[in-house]
């Protein structure tokens, strides 16, 4: 069963008539994770906002957990959790205050709200910080609390909009761990990210989005295969490049590309590890000792470039107001 279905969503912003969504369609199978991958300004946040009932599209339709988003937004709100791009919490209040407040707003009674707050603080390793105001929290802690707030009543469908943007590597790893746990619990998750690595790590399937449209869909592996298979890459001393290139060509059966600057030779290969061993043996016989050698699978970066013709540039999304764009690593 599909937990999220969006059909032909169109949304323009203001007088500029910038189409944030330009006929976007997607669906997510129940209990799976869809990674919505794209650069800033591609329409990821707008998609989430439409599905989470915050924004009414100009046209198109959508259902979440089988409920029509446009016709019954109140019903949708009961079954979703949303954690936005920046922690949407009351900074002046403590973690505890925030969670109990949201608990009450999800219509738990006072006792239940407190109990749930306790559980969630425990689960997200925030018990020690529970009585401190949010403004004293680190970025990672804020995100965890924000995520906790979206899980107060176990949502059927969870939306995470760039859950790790702006976090340091450690914060990101922690967040990945937390999300992984959630996914094992069986929630349907729509996750947006501009980190290609993140989509690869967390999502069952990926939708690549550019200029308000889904331009490719598949698992990480499928997308990588679209770009091509594995490549053999070796780096050698400058005076050995010609000889090494000839040997690589012999194994790969295709003309390798050579980057003289970094002395790197690379060529597509069909039978990865066998080719690697073969090349190593030939190089050894020719008394060439590679400085570096390996098989490289195409990264999602490569996928993005081959699909859109440009790299996943980071631009400041117009609808974000004052927030500065996070750097892509």
């Amino acid at each position: 069963m599909k937990s999220i279905v969006a059909q032909e969503l169109v949304k323009s912003y203001g007088k500029r008539a910038v189409k944030a969504l330009d006929g976007l369609s997607l669906d997510v199978e129940e209990g799976t994770v869809l990674g919505l991958l794209g650069p800033n300004g591609s329409g990821k946040t707008t998609t989430v906002r439409v599905l989470a009932t915050l924004l009414i599209p100009d046209s198109g339709s959508a259902t979440v957990a089988g409920i029509d988003v446009l016709k019954h937004p109140d019903e949708v709100r009961k079954v979703i959790g949303l954690s936005g791009q920046y922690a949407a919490l009351d900074e002046t209040l403590t973690g505890w205050d925030n969670l109990t407040m949201f608990g009450r707003l999800y219509h738990l009674n006072s006792t239940a709200a407190k109990k749930r707050a306790e559980e969630l603080l425990e689960k997200f390793s925030l018990t020690d910080a529970a009585r401190r105001p949010i403004r004293t929290y680190s970025g990672g802690m804020r995100r965890r609390l924000d995520l906790a707030a979206s899980l107060i009543v176990k949502p059927k469908v969870l939306f995470l909009d760039e859950p790790t943007t702006g976090l340091d590597p450690r914060g990101r790893m922690e967040m990945w761990g937390v999300i992984d746990e959630l996914v094992k619990g069986g929630v349907t998750l729509l996750l947006t990210t501009q980190y290609l690595e993140e989509a690869d790590q967390l999502a069952d399937s990926i939708a690549v989005i550019d200029s308000g449209k889904v331009i490719a869909r598949g698992t990480a592996d499928e997308l990588k295969n679209q770009v091509g298979g594995e490549r053999l890459e070796i780096t050698v001393e400058a005076n050995q490049i010609t000889e090494a290139t000839r040997l690589v060509e012999q194994v790969a059966g295709a003309t390798p590309s050579v980057d003289l600057g970094i002395r790197k030779i690379s060529a597509p290969v069909s039978n990865g590890s066998a080719s690697l061993i073969q090349v190593l043996r030939l190089l050894d016989e020719a008394k060439i000792h590679p400085l570096d050698i390996g098989l490289k699978r195409p990264s999602l970066d490569d996928v993005f470039i081959s699909l859109t013709g440009h790299v996943a540039e980071v631009v400041i999304e117009p609808e974000l107001g004052g927030k500065s764009a996070a750097k892509r690593k």
């Binding site: 906002r49 936005g84 920046y86 919490l89 209040l93 407040m101």
Partner: protein, 264 residues
């Protein structure tokens, strides 16, 4: 219905919690009007020949009370703009709560802050010679009037806060509009000195009708008003009630509508 009430109470409670968690905010919000009381009392009090029993401070206090509660608009606008900016409004909008809970909760919360502020100001006023002479019932109604006016102004703040979306813009905008409004009135000086056209404006100004109403309720003759002999200056209590009713009747529905459709 019961659910909606509980929803807005949670939002109001959040604001009361904020007061407890960061008492500085409330302290500064209270010190400022208290300082105004002292400044006006001692700087202008000597210069303005009030001609009322008990001196200028009797006329001043209703003026400063009204100015302070008029600024509830600012508290509401800035608070909501900050919530917008931080994405908190989005989170609230994604929750299964009544569509009016957040804005009602906010306006009620800001009004409760006024209770504290008015108590402190009243005490400071008393210390520097303010002696309302109309008896406890009328004095009580005077304060109730002030809270009601603050509450009505708060609804304009909702619209401003949800429209500008940035704390600092909200702050500048409301100060630019509310300050002139409170000074183009009978709050601090007689309107007699103003050009005729401004006199009419000043006397129709809701701030003036409120000040005049409060002076009446606190038992001081309003010698600063009624120079242009306009209807509102003759019937300040009725006119103020009409203004308050209009403010809420017009701006509350627009606010809720705005909240429902607002999106960053």
């Amino acid at each position: 219905m019961l659910q909606s009430v509980s929803d807005f109470l949670v939002i109001t409670k959040r604001q009361l919690l904020q007061m407890i968690r960061i008492p500085e905010v409330l302290i500064f919000a209270t010190i400022q009007p208290a300082m105004f009381v002292l400044l006006f009392r001692f700087v202008f009090g000597g210069a303005i020949d009030s001609g009322v029993k008990g001196g200028y401070v009797q006329l001043l206090m209703p003026g400063i009370f009204v100015q302070t509660v008029a600024f509830t608009l600012a508290a509401t606008a800035v608070g909501l703009a900050a919530d917008m900016q931080k994405g908190l409004i989005d989170r609230f909008r994604s929750l299964p709560i009544s569509r009016s809970a957040v804005v009602i909760g906010r306006t009620v919360g800001d009004t409760l802050q006024n209770v504290v502020t008015l108590i402190v100001m009243g005490l400071v006023g008393f210390l520097v010679g303010w002696r309302p002479s109309s008896g406890p019932v009328k004095i009580f109604f005077g304060f109730l009037f002030l809270l009601a006016f603050g509450y009505s102004m708060s609804w304009i703040g909702v619209i401003i806060g949800l429209s500008v979306r940035e704390e600092r813009v909200a702050q500048n905008l409301v100060f630019m509009t509310v300050f002139p409004l409170t000074f183009l009135s009978n709050a601090f000086a007689p309107t007699t000195g103003m050009p005729k056209i401004l006199q009419y404006f000043a006397e129709w100004n809701p701030v003036s009708t409120m000040v005049a109403a409060c002076r009446e309720l606190f038992g001081t003759e309003n010698i600063f008003g009624a120079t242009a002999n306009s209807w509102p200056s003759q019937n300040p209590i009725l006119m103020s009630l009409i203004y308050m009713f209009l403010l809420v009747a017009i701006f509350a529905p627009i606010s809720v509508r705005k909240y429902v459709r607002v999106s960053k």
